[in-house]
């Protein structure tokens, strides 16, 4: 057992669990820019709970962002992509899946750069050029609809994950179920509703939980594209933590905030786990270990 699980456990402990312990400790110190600890204090936690006027807004933005991206892109759009590409002949489907994996495969800096170019508010922006060619007035997404911007930008990336999982799941549904449904006169939509979706229930649950947590802690693309948006409009919690810690050098307060995020994440994960009844869906392993 040591050989198999050992390395994984060691790495996970070193890079996840131990830092969390250190993080808890840090949250109660006064570490600032110079990375020195001079005393232990609870002022950071106090500030987090009562004194931070930005926090409610940040939490609200985070909620909208996570729910919006999850619902619209990571689940729905991913399902649509998976369904459509499996309805096509294999090579065409593979081609389109490849296209939609491209955002996830390219380095984040490049992806963010391209988005910046596309939504540039002046005439340079690809979006504005397209709009103007269609006779519409130019828009400034970064200023006027920044939350929508980050939802779409992250959605393109997020959809590909679900798309892959759902595609392989749909492919493994036994063909005869489809034939039977068609013989019974079911329309395409009905087939989807009654045959496909129930068969991939586990994958949908898994993707929901996994992507919900992913969105909760991810901020890299938001950071690169809007840097928290005009004022604090697109500052999600994770980005807020990073900015407090690294832009301001307030490492101890950042640690306290990070702790809060960890707690929120764990709670969300546990609730979702329960809701989706994941335990029942886990496959029983083959070998008993006494």
């Amino acid at each position: 057992m040591a050989l198999f699980l050992g390395p994984a456990c060691l790495l996970l402990f070193l890079c996840f669990l131990a830092p969390v312990v250190v993080d808890v400790l840090l949250a109660f110190t006064d570490m600032g820019r110079n990375l020195r600890i001079t005393r232990f204090t609870t002022e950071n936690v106090e500030r987090l709970l009562t004194g931070d006027r930005r926090l409610p807004g940040v939490l609200a933005v985070t909620g909208i962002y996570v729910l919006g991206t999850l619902a619209i892109f990571n689940l729905t759009f991913a399902l649509v992509l998976a369904l459509v590409t499996t309805a096509m002949p294999t090579s065409a489907g593979a081609f389109f899946r490849a296209v939609w994996l491209l955002p996830r495969m390219s380095p984040s800096v490049v992806y963010a750069l391209l988005w910046g170019w596309v939504v540039a508010p002046t005439d340079y922006g690809l979006l504005n050029q397209t709009l103007q060619a269609l006779g519409l007035p130019p828009i400034d997404l970064k200023s006027d609809a920044p939350v929508a911007l980050i939802i779409v930008a992250n959605g393109f990336i997020g959809a590909s994950f679900g798309m892959i999982i759902f595609t392989s799941a749909i492919r493994s549904i036994p063909e005869h179920l489809f034939w039977a449904a068609q013989v019974d006169g079911a329309s395409r939509l009905a087939i989807v509703r009654h045959v496909t979706l129930p068969a991939i229930r586990w994958q949908i649950s898994f993707v929901t939980i996994y992507q919900a947590l992913s969105l909760l802690v991810s901020f890299e693309y938001i950071w690169l594209i809007t840097d928290g948006g005009p004022f604090y409009d697109t500052t999600v919690y994770a980005l807020y933590v990073y900015q407090r810690a690294f832009n301001n050098g307030q490492y101890a307060y950042g640690a306290a905030l990070a702790l809060g995020l960890v707690l929120i994440g764990i709670t969300a994960a546990l609730i979702l786990w329960r809701l989706m009844d994941m335990r029942a869906l886990l496959q029983r392993p083959r070998i008993e270990v006494t």
Partner: protein, 357 residues
């Protein structure tokens, strides 16, 4: 008792017409699907095409001049090619027609975009001093980072991390899939929850810990951290693949006299090759694009990676040469795209297993 006369002699059903109508409807819906998907794919593809065109034609800004011209040539050519591809049945004639269209498109492209193309933006490949062209005052003895050392650093990090992730997650995935050890559900739940740990924000504790362990400011430290971050997902995927390997294969190998380890290495492992490949690719790409940890954990060594290099060309407090940026961007993105194109067949076969039937 009178019964209504049953309509025995119905008008004969025209099966041919029905079938033809159904076929037509299917063709139309497929065509509609294709059209919708193509339009939907454009927002993804066009920006990358823009990046490439600017890399070869931009002066200091990201102009769309060459882009529109390129699109104006390529799109009609593609439409024409697909119509021709569907219409002409004969293999040879089709191939000749497609070649003809391709050649004409290329020639037209050369004519409309030719005058704008230049290789100046690629000067960073042979001359690290990219400021020279801009300001005319080059550094005396200061080294501008060389893109090649950044390239090889990125390669080293991504490669090492890939190897590590594959090995560790395969071992762990096998064990979790096969053995019902105590605490297994908890472990799986824990893996999922680990994903909720905002790894980015654990940077400072990780930084301090690396310092205490003595790994700080080394590439090894960075590799270890990034590996650990990839593990939850990788283990889940490998577990899924192992779940799909029938127990019978292993059983029969063992009854044939193979030890557990031999059964694992020679019988089970080849079955999950696809999974290992998929994990390897994701891990490599993750390591290739890594920016935040490299930036934070490498303190004083001049170990620039491609992500740092690109970021450096983009962020200039006073003014940016976007054409240079796009060339660097293309250079940076190319390995990802190449790797991905050749292996995407395997990526889409990933499954997370878990459920029976």
């Amino acid at each position: 008792m009178s019964t209504a006369a049953l309509p025995l002699a119905e008008a004969p059903v025209d099966w041919q017409a029905l079938a033809a109508r159904a076929r037509l409807r299917r063709r139309l819906s497929t065509a509609f699907l294709y059209l919708a998907m193509t339009l939907g794919a454009l927002p993804v593809l066009v920006p990358y095409l823009w990046l490439v065109t600017v890399a070869f034609s931009g002066r200091t800004g990201a102009s769309t001049l060459v882009l529109w011209r390129t699109l104006a040539v390529i799109l009609p050519a593609l439409v024409l090619a697909s119509i021709v591809g569907m219409a002409i049945e004969d293999q040879r004639r089709r191939r000749r027609a497609l070649l003809l269209i391709g050649g004409a498109a290329l020639a037209l492209l050369a004519i409309v975009t030719g005058p704008y193309l230049h290789l100046n933006n690629w000067r960073f490949l042979w001359n690290p001093d990219v400021a020279d062209a801009l300001k005319g005052a080059s550094g005396v003895g200061t080294k501008f980072p060389s893109v090649w050392s950044a390239f090889f650093n990125s390669l080293a990090i991504a490669g090492a991390q890939m190897a590590l992730v594959v090995v560790v997650s395969t071992l762990a995935g096998y064990y979790i899939s096969r053995f019902a050890f105590s605490g297994r559900p908890l472990f799986l739940q824990g893996l999922l929850v680990l994903h909720a740990f905002p790894a980015m924000t654990l940077i400072i504790p990780i930084f301090l810990m690396m310092y205490w362990v003595g790994l700080q400011d080394t590439l090894l430290g960075v590799v270890l951290v990034i590996t650990a971050l990839e593990l939850p997902f990788a283990i889940f995927v490998m577990k899924g693949f192992f779940d799909a390997v029938p127990w019978e294969i292993e059983m029969s190998a063992m009854t044939d006299g193979a030890s557990r380890r031999q059964a694992f290495l020679h019988v089970v492992l080849p079955q999950v090759k696809v999974g290992m490949l998929a994990i390897a690719i994701f891990a490599f790409l993750r390591g290739w694009e890594e920016y935040v940890f490299v930036r934070t954990l490498l303190v004083a060594k001049e170990n620039w990676t491609m992500s740092l290099y690109l970021f450096w060309t983009i962020t200039d407090v006073m003014g940016v040469d976007y054409a240079l940026v796009s060339a660097v961007g293309v250079f940076y993105v190319l390995p990802s795209v190449v790797l991905y194109t050749f292996t995407q067949k395997y990526l889409t076969q990933m499954t997370i297993g878990g459920i029976k039937g």
